[in-house]
C-alpha cells in the first residue's frame, strides 16, 4: 500500500506525503483529491491500491492533466462522475484555461467513467482506434455493475466515447499552446485500446495501464502484445514516467522491469504447462511466479494465468 509508504526524493516524496494525507482525511474535502506537479505543468492524482469491488474503487487509477498556454488536456477521468468532477475541481484550482482534450488511455472503468464531468462544446474526447468499439462492448457491463458511479439516473449517455481516434501504430500530435502532446495507439497489449501520451516539453510519458507499478498487472489483451509493447516503450526518451497505477518515477527502463519479468515468467511458465499437457486448473495452481510484493495479487494473478493459458494454447 502506498498509504504511509515513503519513497524516493523530491516530488516523489511530495506525492507520498499527499497520499498519506489523503488517507487521513474524510471524503469530499478538497484535500481528499490531491494532485502533485510531477513536472512543470504536469499534474498527477495517484489512485488508491484497492480492488475493483472495494469501497473507493472509483479512485484507483492515476489521473491527471497537463496545462499549456492555450488550454488543458486531461488524461483519464477516474472511475466515477464524482471523481471526474473532483479532477475538474483540481484543474479549476490551478488554471482558468479551458479543457480542450480529454484523453482516455484505454477502456477500463477506472479510467473512463469520469468522462461525463468534462462534457463541453469545445472539449474533444480522444482515444485509441478500438476505444469506441471496446466501450460499446462494455457499456452494458458498466451500467449493470457500476451504476452507482454514474449520476442518478444512470444511463448509457453518461459513458462517453471518443470523437477523435488514433490509429494503431500511429501518433497524433495535440497542441496545448507552448507544448505538444504525442499520443500513440498500441497494438493489443494490456487491452485492445491502449494509448500512451508523451509531453515533449517535460519528456513525461503517461503509460496508461501499459505499466503497473506495485499493483499486480492485469491482463485483458495479449501477453505477447504487451511484452512487445514494453520492449518498444523502453526506448522512449522519458525523464518522468506516470504509470496507470502506482507511483511515478524518473527511470523508465527500471520502472518497466518488474512488470516485464512478471509477464515473461507467465509466458514461459504457461508455455511449459501447455506443452506438458496440464489443464487450465492445474496451471492456475502451479504458476505462481514472483508474487511477493505485488499488491492485489490474489484478485489479479489467477485471472492472468487463465487469460495467458487460453492465448497460448492456440500458438
Amino acid at each position: 500500500m502506498y498509504c504511509g509508504q515513503q519513497r524516493r526524493l523530491g516530488w516523489h516524496t511530495a506525492l507520498a506525503a499527499l497520499a498519506a494525507l489523503s488517507c487521513a482525511l474524510p471524503a469530499h474535502t478538497a484535500a481528499d483529491f490531491p494532485v502533485a506537479e510531477v513536472a512543470p505543468g504536469v499534474f498527477v492524482h495517484l489512485g488508491k491500491p484497492l480492488a475493483l469491488e472495494a469501497a473507493g474503487h472509483d479512485d484507483i487509477a492515476n489521473l491527471g492533466f497537463i496545462i499549456g498556454s492555450r488550454c488543458v488536456a486531461v488524461i483519464d477521468t477516474g472511475g466515477s462522475v464524482r471523481i471526474g468532477r473532483a479532477l475538474r475541481g483540481a484543474i479549476r484550482a490551478r488554471t482558468t484555461l479551458p479543457v480542450c482534450y480529454v484523453i482516455n488511455t484505454h477502456v477500463h472503468v477506472d479510467h473512463v467513467l469520469g468522462n461525463a464531468a468534462f462534457q463541453a462544446p469545445a472539449t474533444r474526447f480522444i482515444g485509441h482506434a478500438q476505444l469506441a468499439a471496446a466501450l460499446s462492448q462494455s457499456r452494458e457491463f458498466f451500467l449493470k455493475n457500476y451504476a452507482g458511479d454514474l449520476d442518478a439516473p444512470p444511463g448509457p449517455q453518461q459513458i462517453i466515447g471518443p470523437d477523435t481516434m488514433v490509429a494503431i501504430d500511429t501518433d497524433l500530435e495535440l497542441d496545448l499552446g507552448a507544448r505538444h502532446l504525442h499520443l500513440r495507439a498500441w497494438p493489443k497489449a494490456h487491452t485492445d485500446s491502449d494509448l500512451t501520451v508523451f509531453d515533449d516539453s517535460t519528456a513525461t510519458l503517461w503509460t496508461g495501464d501499459l505499466l503497473f507499478v506495485q499493483r499486480t498487472p492485469a491482463l485483458d489483451g495479449s501477453i505477447k502484445g504487451w511484452l512487445a509493447a514494453l520492449e518498444r516503450m523502453s526506448a522512449v526518451p522519458a525523464k518522468h514516467v506516470v504509470p496507470g497505477h502506482g507511483p511515478p518515477s524518473g527511470d523508465l527502463p527500471a520502472a518497466l522491469e518488474p512488470q516485464r519479468r512478471y509477464l515473461q515468467a507467465l509466458l514461459v511458465g504457461l508455455r511449459q504447462e501447455i506443452a506438458d499437457g496440464k489443464p487450465l486448473q492445474a496451471a492456475i495452481r502451479e504458476i505462481n511466479p514472483e508474487h511477493s510484493g505485488w499488491l492485489l495479487w490474489d484478485e489479479t494473478h489467477p485471472r492472468n494465468v487463465a487469460r495467458v493459458y487460453q492465448e497460448l494454447e492456440w500458438e
Binding site: S136, G277, P279, L280, E313, W314
Partner: protein, 262 residues
C-alpha cells in the same frame, strides 16, 4: 444449556443462509425445476467425495472460461453411463449431457464453461445399474455469457487440437470455435452476436462411439473437453464436433501417444 445454545446458533446460521440465498442467488435455481423433469423422484446420493467429486473455483479467474472438473472414485469409474453438468443460474443451465459407453473407464472429465453470475454448478452421474450421484459447488462470477471474445479469438474455425498428459492417462481436446452464446455484443453494430456454438462432441475409438456429449452455449470460447482414465487411453481417438447453425461437422483423429496434433 450448551445444547440449547448450539441449536440456537444453528438456527441463526440457517436463517442467515436463507436470507443470503434470497438476495444473492436462489438456493437451487434451475435445478428445482429440472430435477423432476430429468430424474423424477429417484433418489440421488449427494454425500462424500469417495464416489464422486466436483472441483470448481469459488471465485472464478475467468467467468467466460471457468474450469470444472468432475472426478469419479474407484467404485464409480467405468460404471458411469451418463453425466450432466448444470449451471443453475446460467441462461441455458444444462451445459452438457454426456453419455459414456462401457470400455472407456473415464475417471475424470474437465470442461471449460461460461458462468453468468453467482451460481451452483452441479454434476449428476448415472451408473449403468441406475444409481444417481450428484455433487455441486458454488462459483462466484459475473458476465461469463456476455464476455467479449478473448485474445485467442479467430484462427481456423473447427481446428481441433489434442494434448495428452505427460503420463498419457489424460487427453485434452480443444476445438477452435467462438462458441458465441447469443448474449455477446457486436462492438461495431451494438447488436447481439447470434448464437453460434458446438452442439455435440462425439469421441470414437475403432469406429465405436465411446463418448457422446450434447453441448451448447454454456461452453467457453474454444470449447475444451479433457478426459482422464484409469486404463490406457485408446490407441486412437476420433473427435467429431457439430456446429450450430451451420451443421458443419469438424473432425480429427488422435493417433495415440507421441502425436500431439492431428
Amino acid at each position: 444449556m450448551s445444547r440449547f445454545w448450539n441449536m440456537l446458533s444453528a438456527l441463526l446460521v440457517l436463517s442467515a443462509t436463507a436470507a443470503l440465498a434470497d438476495t444473492e442467488a436462489p438456493v437451487n435455481g434451475a435445478w428445482q425445476n429440472m430435477r423432476g423433469h430429468l430424474y423424477g423422484t429417484r433418489d440421488i446420493g449427494e454425500m462424500g467425495d469417495e464416489l464422486m467429486s466436483i472441483e470448481a473455483p469459488a471465485s472464478t479467474p475467468d467467468p467466460a472460461a471457468t474450469p470444472i472438473v468432475v472426478r469419479f472414485g474407484k467404485d464409480l469409474a467405468g460404471k458411469v453411463k451418463q453425466v450432466r453438468v448444470i449451471i443453475d443460474n446460467n441462461p441455458s443451465p444444462l451445459a452438457t449431457t454426456m453419455n459414456l459407453e462401457a470400455g472407456l473407464p473415464v475417471d475424470e472429465i474437465d470442461l471449460r464453461v461460461r458462468i453468468d453470475r453467482f451460481t451452483s454448478v452441479r454434476a449428476i452421474a448415472e451408473t449403468r445399474d441406475g444409481h444417481l450421484e450428484m455433487r455441486s459447488a458454488w462459483v462466484n462470477a459475473s458476465g461469463g455469457c456476455s464476455a467479449p471474445p478473448s485474445a485467442a479469438q479467430g484462427g481456423t474455425l473447427g481446428e481441433i487440437r489434442f494434448r495428452p498428459s505427460s503420463d498419457e492417462s489424460a487427453l485434452q481436446i480443444s476445438i477452435r470455435h467462438p462458441n458465441n452464446s447469443g448474449f455477446q455484443i457486436d462492438p461495431r453494430s451494438g447488436d447481439p452476436i447470434p448464437p453460434h456454438f458446438i452442439s455435440r462432441i462425439r469421441l470414437l475409438a475403432n469406429g465405436q462411439t465411446v463418448l457422446d456429449a450434447e453441448t451448447g452455449i454454456s461452453l467457453s470460447e474454444n470449447p475444451t473437453l479433457r478426459i482422464a482414465t484409469r486404463g490406457p487411453l485408446p490407441a486412437s481417438l476420433t473427435v467429431e464436433a457439430t456446429d450450430i447453425p451451420s451443421q458443419a461437422l469438424y473432425s480429427a483423429t488422435w493417433n495415440g501417444p507421441g502425436s500431439a496434433h492431428p
